[in-house]
Symmetry: C2
Subunit: 337 residues, 2 copies
C-alpha cells in the first residue's frame, strides 16, 4: 500500500481540484491510500455523493492555510493548525506515510521539507525538479529549478544523480541523457561552478553526461535531464514557459484578427488546440522535491484536478520504484569512494 | 563626422553582408564615415559598381580571420593580421574612430575589448546588452547577457546605469523602467547578489527601478531594461529565443500538415509571417558592449546585410548622443559620493 497525503488548501481552486484529483487517483490505483489534509468539514461536504473506496481515504483536520503572502520559514514554524504544518508533522512522524502532494506556497513547502521533514541521508540539499515537454514528445527534467540559490559543484553533482535516477526509474528511460546548463556547449565555458561540475559529471560512470547545454536547445528533445543551480534553472523554466505562452497569445490574436483570419483558423482549430495542449503544464504533473526524506510533489498553484491526479501518480510511481532508497544508496557510494 | 569600423570577416555570410550593410548605412547618414576591415582585394571586388560616397569609405587591410574555433584570448594576442586584431588596434590608437561593428566571434570581440581596447574610466567590466522585441511593440534591453560570468552587486549596479542611459538616449525613452532578473518579484527573493543589487538600485535616484522581474514576464513589455549577471542573462535571452523559434517550427508543421491545414493557413499567411518578422533578430540590430572605451556592436554570426546596417545605425546613434561620456559622468558621480 502506498499512502499519500494530499493538501486541500493553498491553491487557487482549493479544495475542489485537490479533492477531485485525489478521488481520480484513488479510482486509478487499487493499492493507493489517500489522506486529505485541510478543513475536515469542507472536505466532507465536497466528498458527499462521490464514488470511491471509502476504506482507502482518511481526513486529517487542519483548518488554517499558509498563503503566498506569509513568510515561509516563519509560517511553517508558527502556523500549527495549517495544512502544511500538519502534513509535514505527519510525514516526519508517521512511517506508513510515503509522500505528499500540494499546490500551496512553494516557499513554505521547501521550508517544511528542509526544517521539519529533513533530507535523505547523505544529500546536501533537496532540489526541485519539474518536467517540461519537448518537440520530440519526450519530457525534460530540470534540476534544480529554484530551491537552492547558492550552490556548489557537489550539490549539482547530487542533483544530476537524483534526477537521472528519477527519470530512469519512474519514466522507464534507460541511461537518461544528462546535460549541464551553461552559456555555451564547449567544455571550458561558464564560471568556476560550471567548470567544476563539468569535471565531476564527466567522471561519474553512473551518469550519462552528454556535456553542456545552451538554454536555446532545451525544447529540442536532445536531453532528458538538465542540471543547474536553482537561480539558472528557475530562469530557464520560467522564460521558456513565458515565451511559449506569449507566442500562443500572439497566435490567438492573429487567428481572431479579422473575418478572413477566423475562417482560415477554423481549418486549423484542432491542430492549434493540440499545440496548446502540448504546452499545458496540467498534462505533466508537478515538480518533485528530490532528496527530501519523503516524496514531495509540488503542483502549480492554479492547476486543475487532473494535474493533482498526475502529481499523486508521480508520487505513487516514485514510491513504487523505491527512488528514495536508490538515491540513498547512490550517495553512500560517493562517500565510500 | 562619426567614424565606424566594420569587420568584413568572421560572420557566416562575410564579407558580402558586412559590405552591403555598410553601404546601406553610408547612404542613409551623410555624416557617417566607414572603414571596412578585412581582405582589401575581396572588399574592392565587392565594392565595384556600387553607388556610395567614395570620400567617406576607407579600407583597412587585414587578411586573417579569428574564427569561433580559435581560443579568443590567445587569438586576439597572436593573430596580428586578423580583422579583429587590426580593428582593436585602430580603435585604441586612432582618436577619430568612434566605434566598431562585427558579426565575428563573440569571445574574441569581448577579449579584444577588455585586453586591447579598455574600459570607460570607472567602469569595472563592460557588459553585453542585446535587445529583444516585446508584445507591446517596444524592445527590452538585457544587460549583461553573457560577458561576465562572476559578478558582484557594484557591477550589476553599473550595468543598470549604463543600459538605462543607453535606452534613454538612443531610443528616446524617458526614464526607462529597470528591473532586476530574479526568481520572484518580492524584494527578499534570490541570493545575496540579488539582495545587495536590489538595495543599490532602490537607492539610486537616477535609475527608475521597478523591482524584481520573473523571467516569464520578459516579453510582456512591462520593462525597458533587465539587469542580470552574465550567466542568468544568457540563459534568459537564449531560452526565450529558443522557445519562440521552437513554437514557430511547431506552427509551421501545423500549417503544412494536411491539405486542409494548408488551405486554412493560406488565409493567415500574411499575419503569420508578421509574427515571424516580429521575432526575427535581424530587425533589431545587435548587442552593444556597454562600458568599452569605444562603441562596440556585435551582430549575430548568421545575420543579414540589413542587420549590419542596423548595427552601424546603433553605433552611430550612440556616438551622436555621447553615451560614453554620459556613462563616464554617471560613474564618476558614484565615486564622488
Amino acid at each position: 500500500m502506498i499512502k499519500i497525503l494530499v493538501d486541500t488548501l493553498g491553491g487557487d481552486r482549493s479544495p475542489d481540484v485537490n479533492i477531485d484529483g485525489a478521488i481520480m487517483a484513488l479510482n486509478k490505483f487499487e493499492d493507493l491510500q489517500i489522506v486529505l489534509v485541510g478543513n475536515s468539514e469542507d472536505i466532507r461536504a465536497k466528498l458527499e455523493g462521490q464514488t470511491y473506496d471509502h476504506t482507502r481515504l482518511e481526513i486529517l483536520h487542519a483548518p488554517d492555510v499558509i498563503s503566498c503572502n506569509d513568510k515561509p520559514t516563519e509560517a511553517i514554524r508558527t502556523k500549527k493548525e495549517s495544512s502544511l504544518y500538519v502534513a509535514f508533522d505527519t510525514l516526519r512522524k508517521d512511517e506508513t506515510v510515503n509522500g505528499f502532494v500540494s499546490n500551496g506556497s512553494t516557499g513554505a513547502i521547501l521550508a517544511g521539507a528542509v526544517l521539519r521533514l529533513g533530507r535523505i541521508k547523505g544529500i546536501k540539499r533537496p532540489a526541485l525538479c519539474p518536467l517540461l515537454p519537448t518537440m520530440t514528445g519526450n519530457v525534460v527534467a530540470i534540476c534544480d529549478s529554484g530551491a537552492n540559490m547558492d550552490c556548489d559543484s557537489l550539490m549539482l553533482h547530487q542533483f544530476a544523480l537524483m534526477a537521472s535516477l528519477y527519470i530512469e526509474k519512474t519514466y522507464n528511460i534507460a541511461s537518461p541523457r544528462v546535460a549541464l546548463l551553461n552559456v555555451g556547449t564547449e567544455e571550458e565555458k561558464g564560471d568556476m561552478l560550471r567548470k567544476e561540475t563539468y569535471s565531476l559529471l564527466s567522471k561519474d560512470e553512473r551518469i550519462n553526461f552528454v556535456g553542456n547545454m545552451e538554454s536555446r536547445d532545451l525544447l529540442k528533445g536532445e536531453y532528458d535531464v538538465v542540471v543547474s543551480d536553482g537561480f539558472g534553472g528557475n530562469v530557464l523554466c520560467k522564460s521558456t514557459e513565458g515565451a511559449c505562452l506569449e507566442m500562443l497569445k500572439l497566435l490567438k490574436k492573429t487567428c481572431t484578427k479579422s473575418f478572413k483570419n477566423k475562417l482560415g483558423a477554423s481549418f486549423l482549430k484542432k491542430d492549434i488546440s493540440e499545440i496548446k495542449d502540448f504546452m499545458d503544464y496540467n498534462n505533466y504533473g508537478g515538480a518533485v522535491l528530490l532528496g527530501a526524506n519523503k516524496t514531495i510533489v509540488k503542483a502549480h498553484g492554479s492547476c486543475k484536478a487532473i494535474t493533482i491526479m498526475h502529481c499523486i501518480e508521480q508520487a505513487y510511481n516514485i514510491e513504487k520504484n523505491n527512488l528514495r532508497q536508490l538515491i540513498e544508496e547512490g550517495v553512500s557510494q560517493d562517500k565510500s569512494e
